[in-house]
């Protein structure tokens, strides 16, 4: 399966980051998940071109690359909105009112979990537990964890993003 290392699809600097990660990990198929992390950090999501490039560089067949990218919930094959809002649905948050928060966001912004608003401003995601149980219910706005939130608080935060 191993071929000569492929050429990056474009001059975009971000490909060089990915290349560097691939080299550091020895271009081995083992490194697939690590490199996909790097690629998703760089581009925000994994498009077919990225998957093809990473697979070719690591000697992983397309069916395997795609299989891994779709298995793990952290990886996304769709572009995300400008901001992300991750509602924790861990047990403490669930019994603490996460359901009401999701309902409110869905109603007000007209998006369900996993969806992005029409203006591409906000993506609503859910997490199985972010480990901030003492702050239940918790929501992560971009990378900022906020706790003990009411649906109203969440909407206020979203407006201020």
């Amino acid at each position: 399966m191993r071929q000569a290392s492929p050429k990056a699809p474009s001059d975009d600097k971000r490909w060089r980051m990915i290349d560097a990660r691939i080299r550091r990990l020895g271009s081995s198929p083992d490194a697939l998940i690590e490199v996909l992390h790097t690629a998703q950090e760089a581009f925000g999501y994994l498009d077919p071109e990225t998957l093809a490039y990473v697979g070719a560089a690591l000697g992983v067949p397309p069916s395997r690359t795609y299989g891994v990218a779709t298995f793990y919930s952290h990886f996304t094959l769709k572009p995300q909105g400008k901001h992300t809002c991750v509602v924790c649905t861990g047990t403490a948050c669930y019994i603490g009112g996460a359901r009401g928060i999701i309902k409110r966001i869905s109603q007000d912004l007209n998006i369900g979990p996993g969806e992005t608003t029409e203006d591409k401003r906000i993506s609503l995601l859910t997490a199985r537990c972010i480990g901030a149980c003492s702050l239940a219910p918790a929501v992560v706005f971009d990378d900022d964890v906020q706790g003990k939130l009411s649906p109203d608080d969440v909407m206020t935060h979203l407006e201020q993003l």
Binding site: Y72, C129, A132, G147
Partner: protein, 543 residues
């Protein structure tokens, strides 16, 4: 990393240990430590230091600051808050030699910190601070004074069992890996893929005391003959990952990891591998597949990873908390460790206490403490004085115990006898506002979403169980559905390929055992006693 420190050579009169674990960080504790430094400087206080430390435990009342010299704990210290002003005042004037030490609050009084002994005391991003508190002493002792077999002996004597959930004796696992022969590498993997909803023990340990885990891994590697290791950590824990990577870099520079550790012949290299959002990767064989860059689907065991694991080589997998226990066991001896605990459950257990209790947070208690003591003494009872209904341990693989079981002791055997499990340490308290059928459905939903899809009983069974529970909470089920639920639950338990599927029915089985009347109310009277489930009244039942 100290924000302000007194002139070199002089130790500070008082120190403000500012919690920098994820809970408090989200409440702006990083800004707080900067602000405290500024305020002290402005006030001309030169003999007080501000130090960034790991988790102080009482997460619900963050941001937390402890002054170890006086024993004072300040909670809800927001930037610019009154609490902050009081803290600055205390720092400026307190005289630790005269100040009477306050009695520890009931949250801390009955805790026994072994795993968390450094938590909230050391700076997690400073190896020197760790070393100053006997850090890497155990590793050095092991390398210079003990044979690998002697190290394993101490672990066996300690009676330490796996803290990831299953409770397999750690020493025996080590022996198996040590005995396995290979032509080249053996591996040590630290399982930091803490996936149970409602559990944050491992996150907190990694954020508060990462070197402790690395030291445990290095000792394990020495004992079993491994030369490489991985920490498999959830990608959802960015702060833990950052501190781990910092710790690895520092340990390498100090010669505590890498080639010829402590000038011995022993080499051990550690790398961090990120999970990518799959609960099933907490299962050993799935975790290995994931480190190998594949879909995280489990495979049948045997062969066990101890014989054939990562890349087909003998592999030792222990979870964060298990490994965090290693250094103190080696430092103080296995017998010392075995003195704490009860029956076949030795030592302490860290729990993430959450849900409807007054004081939530991270606690470490000796095995054998009762649920009542944890929930009512440490946790301070139920919020708003509501009645206690159930305590959930072990997450989606565990069960719910009712009030009659509150005197159950926290040990592996008692909990599983009562139909729950110790699990990794999530402990969620439920009051009368929770519907137990809804809670069972919540966990089944979790297991269904996290099923890897490989084996039929788990893939399809969790879906079918969830559909039956849907019927019940919607008021569309009959008694036949209830018997189907029970029959299917035991079938999924018996036939699934891995622990995820085998344990997925536990929340259903335990709620059926203790809260059957709630199921019957949904089915026969078409009402939800807790008022949680929206039961459509008067709808004709068609399917």
């Amino acid at each position: 990393m100290t924000e302000t420190s007194p002139p070199a050579g002089r130790s500070p009169r008082v120190t403000a240990n500012v919690c920098q674990a994820a809970g408090c960080v989200s409440l702006r504790s990083v800004e707080l430590s900067k602000d405290l430094g500024d305020r002290l400087q402005k006030a001309g206080v030169t003999d007080a230091a501000v130090k960034r430390v790991g988790c102080l435990g009482l997460c619900a009342e963050g941001p937390l600051v402890r002054v170890p010299e006086t024993g004072q704990l300040f909670s809800e210290v927001g930037v610019g808050s009154e609490a902050e002003a009081a803290l600055v005042e205390h720092l400026a004037t307190a005289d630790p030699t005269r100040e009477p030490r306050p009695k520890p609050s009931s949250f801390f009084a009955s805790q026994v910190p072994i795993v968390l002994e450094n938590s909230g005391l050391v700076d997690p991003e400073d190896i020197d601070d760790y070393i100053a508190r006997s850090g890497y002493e155990a590793l050095t002792t092991a390398l210079t004074e003990m044979t690998p077999a002697q190290v394993i002996d101490q672990i066996v004597v300690s009676g330490l069992r796996g803290r990831g959930g299953a409770g397999f004796p750690v020493g025996i696992k080590w022996q198996t890996v040590a005995k396995s022969t290979t032509t080249d590498h053996k591996y040590v993997i630290c399982n930091a893929d803490e996936g149970d909803p409602g559990a944050f023990m491992d996150r907190s340990v990694l954020e508060s005391d990462p070197h402790r885990v690395l030291e445990g891994m290095a000792i394990a590697a020495y004992a079993v003959g491994a030369d490489s290791g991985y920490v498999y950590c959830r990608a959802e824990y960015p702060l833990a990952i950052k501190r781990l990577k910092t710790a690895i870099r520092q340990a390498r520079r100090k010669g505590m990891l890498g080639q010829n550790i402590g000038d011995s012949q022993f080499n051990f290299h550690v790398e961090v591998r990120l999970g990518a959002g799959a609960f099933v990767c907490g299962e050993e064989t799935a975790l290995i597949a994931s480190i190998e860059g594949q879909r995280g689907t489990p495979r049948p065991r045997p062969p066990y990873p101890a014989v054939s694991g990562l890349r087909g080589r003998p592999t030792l997998i222990n979870n964060v908390e298990s490994l965090a226990n290693i250094a103190p066991i080696i430092r103080n001896g296995g017998e010392w460790y075995a003195k704490t605990g009860v029956g076949r459950s030795k030592g302490t257990k860290v729990f993430a206490l959450a849900g409807r209790v007054v004081r939530t947070g991270l606690i470490e208690v000796p095995m054998g403490m009762t649920l009542r003591e944890v929930i009512f003494d440490i946790g301070g009872g139920i919020l708003d004085n509501r009645p206690f209904k159930a305590v959930q341990t072990g997450g989606p693989s565990g069960g719910c115990l009712p009030a009659e079981m509150l005197d159950t002791t926290l040990d592996y055997e008692s909990l599983s006898e009562k139909g729950s499990i110790m699990g990794s340490g999530g402990m969620i308290v439920l009051d009368d506002t929770s519907c137990m059928v809804d809670v069972a459905r919540y966990f089944m939903d979790f297991s269904r979403d996290e099923s890897c899809g490989k084996c039929i009983p788990c893939r399809s069974g969790t879906t079918q169980l969830r559909m039956l529970l849907d019927k019940i909470v919607e008021g569309n089920a009959d008694m036949l559905d209830l018997s189907r639920l029970e029959e299917l639950a035991s079938m999924v338990k018996a036939t699934s390929l891995c622990g995820l599927g085998q344990n997925a029915p536990n929340p259903v089985l335990s709620t059926l055992r203790y809260f059957r009347s709630e199921y019957l109310a949904h089915i026969k009277e078409r009402t939800c006693p807790a008022g949680v489930c929206a039961i459509a009244s008067g709808e004709a039942k068609t399917s």
